[in-house]
C-alpha cells in the first residue's frame, strides 16, 4: 500500500505464495487421484470442491451418482458452506478485535468437522467423494447427528447476531467500508456472497441447479451497498438459508440404495468379490492400473462454492490422466478488485475488508 497519512492512496496485491501447481499436478495423476488435490483448493469447504470436480468428471463420463450419494453430497455441501461462512465471519471479527464471536462461531464449525469425521475419518481435508459416488456409506446415525447440528446451530448464529449486528463499534468499522458497485462487481467477475452483497441475486444453485437444489424451498439473500457490512449480512443470512435446506433434506430422509454407481469401469468392486471372483479381480486391476478413461472431449461444470462460482473445466484425451484440468477459483476474480476497493480508505478498513472477502490462499493460488 501507498499511504498519505493514514489514507491508502494506492495498493497492489501480490499472490502466489501458496501456488502448488494444482492444474499441472492433475495431468500426471488419474482422475481419482486428483480428488485430494481439490480438497486443498478451498480448505475451509473442501467437500464442495470435491463435489465440483467429481460432478465435472461424471458429466464427462455421462454417469450420475446414485440418489443416496447425491443426497449426502448436498447435505455435506451445505454443512461445508456454513463452516466456510463461520470461518469467514469469525476470523473477520477477530481481525476487528471481537474475539468472543470467534469462539462462538468455531464451536459449531468443530461439530461440523465431527460429522465429516464420522462419515469418513478425516476432518479438514476429507477427500470423501469419489467419481461416481462416495468413498464409503454414511454412518447409521448420520441423520440424527445432522439434526443435532441443525438444532444447535441457530443459537450460535443468533448469539453473534445479537452481539455484533447492531453493535456501534462494529458498525463504525464496517458500514460503508470498501464498497463496490454492482456494475463493477460484475465487470470484475465477482460471484457468491460478495456479488450478492451488491444486490445481484446470482447463485449457481438457483441459476443452474445441480444435486436437486431446485426441489428445495430456500431464498437467495442479497444486500445493498456492497460494503463490508453487506457482505457480513449476506453471509449470516446464507447460513440460515443453508440450515433451511438442511432441515428439508433431513425431513426427506436418506434414499436407500448404494452410494456408488453400478459401473465396473468407474467404481471399484467390493473387496469380497475382488478376492473371490475372477471378473471382479480383473475390473479391480484395470481400474487401479488403467484408471477411469472418459471419452475424448471437454466439459465445464460449475457449483456454488463458499465464495462463489467454482468451476472445473476438464479436457480428456481418452487416457487415464486428464489432459487439462482448469479450476475457476472465485477468490481469484474477487481479490483482483481488492486494491481498488481499499483505495481511499484507511489501513484498519483494509483489514476489515480483506476478512469480509474471505480470501482463501489455497484457491487463489491454485
Amino acid at each position: 500500500v501507498t499511504l498519505d497519512g493514514e489514507t491508502i492512496i494506492g495498493a497492489e496485491q501480490e499472490i502466489g505464495y501458496l501456488h502448488r501447481c494444482f492444474e499441472k499436478s492433475c495431468e500426471t495423476h488419474t482422475y481419482q487421484q486428483a480428488i485430494p488435490f481439490t480438497d486443498r483448493l478451498n480448505y475451509c469447504s473442501a467437500i464442495i470442491n470435491n463435489v465440483g470436480y467429481c460432478m465435472a468428471v461424471e458429466k464427462l463420463l455421462g454417469i450420475e451418482a446414485p440418489p443416496r450419494a447425491q443426497h449426502v453430497r448436498l447435505m455435506l455441501s451445505e454443512f461445508m458452506r456454513i463452516a466456510d461462512h463461520l470461518v469467514c465471519i469469525g476470523t473477520n471479527l477477530v481481525d476487528m478485535g471481537a474475539l468472543t464471536n470467534f469462539w462462538y462461531l468455531f464451536q459449531p464449525r468443530e461439530e461440523i468437522y465431527g460429522l465429516i469425521e464420522a462419515c469418513c475419518g478425516a476432518r479438514l481435508l476429507p477427500s470423501y467423494l469419489r467419481i461416481g459416488g462416495l468413498a464409503v456409506d454414511v454412518p447409521a446415525d448420520f441423520l440424527e447427528k445432522s439434526q443435532r447440528l441443525v438444532n444447535m446451530m441457530p443459537k450460535f448464529i443468533d448469539d453473534v447476531d445479537k452481539l455484533v449486528s447492531r453493535n456501534k463499534i462494529f458498525l463504525d468499522r464496517v458500514v460503508g467500508v470498501a464498497p463496490i458497485s454492482a456494475e463493477d462487481a460484475i465487470d470484475f467477475g465477482f460471484t457468491g456472497p460478495c456479488l450478492r452483497a451488491c444486490g445481484v441475486p446470482y447463485d449457481v444453485r438457483k441459476a443452474s441447479p445441480y444435486l436437486g437444489y431446485e426441489t428445495y424451498d430456500w431464498d437467495v439473500p442479497i444486500a445493498e451497498g456492497g460494503d463490508t457490512y453487506a457482505r457480513y449480512l449476506v453471509r449470516m443470512e446464507e447460513m440460515r438459508q443453508s440450515l433451511r435446506i438442511l432441515q428439508q433434506a433431513i425431513d426427506r430422509g436418506l434414499p436407500p440404495g448404494p452410494v456408488m454407481v453400478d459401473n465396473p469401469y468407474v467404481a471399484l468392486p467390493p473387496i469380497s468379490k475382488v478376492y473371490n471372483e475372477m471378473e471382479s479381480l480383473i475390473y479391480h486391476f484395470k481400474l487401479i492400473m488403467h484408471g477411469i478413461q472418459p471419452p475424448v472431449g471437454e466439459t465445464y461444470f460449475q457449483v456454488e462454492g463458499g465464495n462463489g462460482e467454482l468451476g472445473f473445466y476438464i479436457v480428456s484425451d481418452g487416457t487415464k490422466n486428464p489432459y487439462r484440468v482448469r479450476c475457476r477459483p472465485p477468490c481469484f476474480a474477487i481479490y483482483r478488485a481488492f486494491a481498488r476497493m481499499i483505495t481511499g480508505q484507511t489501513i484498519p478498513d483494509a483489514i476489515a475488508a480483506l476478512g469480509s472477502l474471505n480470501i482463501i490462499a489455497g484457491e487463489l493460488d491454485h
Partner: protein, 184 residues
C-alpha cells in the same frame, strides 16, 4: 460388448467405456443451436458438440467479438480465461474465454487458436476482470496479451517484488515441451 462385461459376475448392462470416442454432452443440440445463432450474428466460426455454445474466433477479432457479446448480448460477467496447450497442433494453444449473462442465465465459450510465439490483444478494455486471468495465462503458457498494462507473472510472481518492472523478455516463462497426447 467386451469380454469383461459378458462374463462378469457384476450385473452391469451399460455400455463399455467409450474412450477414444468423442464425448457428446446431453444438451449438445440445444447448445449448438444457440452457438449457431451467435456465430451467425457475430460472423465467426462455431465449434459443435460442446456442452456450451462455443465460438472459434481469430485473434484479430477477439476484442470486437467480446465487445459485441457484452454490449449486444448481455454477457456482462467475465468468468474465466485460460490457456490449453496442444503441442502437436499447428496452432499450438487455445485461449479459452468463458462469459456469463446474468439476464439470460446463459454461458458462452470462446476459443482463440494461437500459434507458438504469437500474441493476442488484451481484453481489458472490455472486461476489467480478465486482468489477472491474462497474467496467469502468460505465466503458465507464455501467451502474450498486447496492450496489457501490467503483464507480470501471476501466481508465480513471488520471485520478483511487486514493484519491480521487469521487461517482458526477461520475465517471460520458458515454454516446455510436453509429451502428452493431444485430443485433436
Amino acid at each position: 460388448v467386451s469380454t469383461l462385461t459378458r462374463y462378469s459376475a457384476i450385473p452391469y448392462t451399460g455400455p463399455a467405456p467409450t474412450n477414444r470416442e468423442p464425448y457428446t454432452p446431453v444438451d449438445a443440440a440445444k447448445m449448438d443451436a444457440r452457438g449457431a445463432e451467435l456465430a451467425a450474428k457475430l460472423s465467426v466460426q462455431q465449434e459443435t458438440g460442446q456442452d456450451l455454445p462455443t465460438l472459434v474466433v481469430s485473434k484479430d477479432r477477439i476484442v470486437d467479438v467480446l465487445r459485441a457479446l457484452k454490449d449486444e448480448h448481455k454477457f456482462t460477467m467475465p468468468l474465466d480465461l485460460f490457456g490449453v496447450d496442444y503441442p502437436r497442433r499447428r496452432q499450438r494453444f487455445d485461449v479459452v474465454y468463458q462469459l456469463y449473462s446474468i439476464e439470460g442465465n446463459e454461458r458462452v465459450r470462446l476459443k482463440v487458436p494461437l500459434g507458438e510465439g504469437e500474441s493476442l490483444p488484451t481484453s481489458l478494455p472490455v472486461y476489467k476482470g480478465f486482468d489477472w486471468f491474462e497474467r496467469e495465462a502468460y505465466d503458465m503458457f507464455g501467451i502474450r496479451f498486447d496492450g496489457h498494462p501490467n503483464l507480470r507473472r501471476i501466481p508465480a510472481s513471488t520471485t520478483k517484488t511487486a514493484t519491480s518492472s521487469a521487461s517482458p523478455s526477461t520475465s517471460a516463462p520458458r515454454i516446455r515441451r510436453r509429451t502428452a497426447r493431444c485430443a485433436s
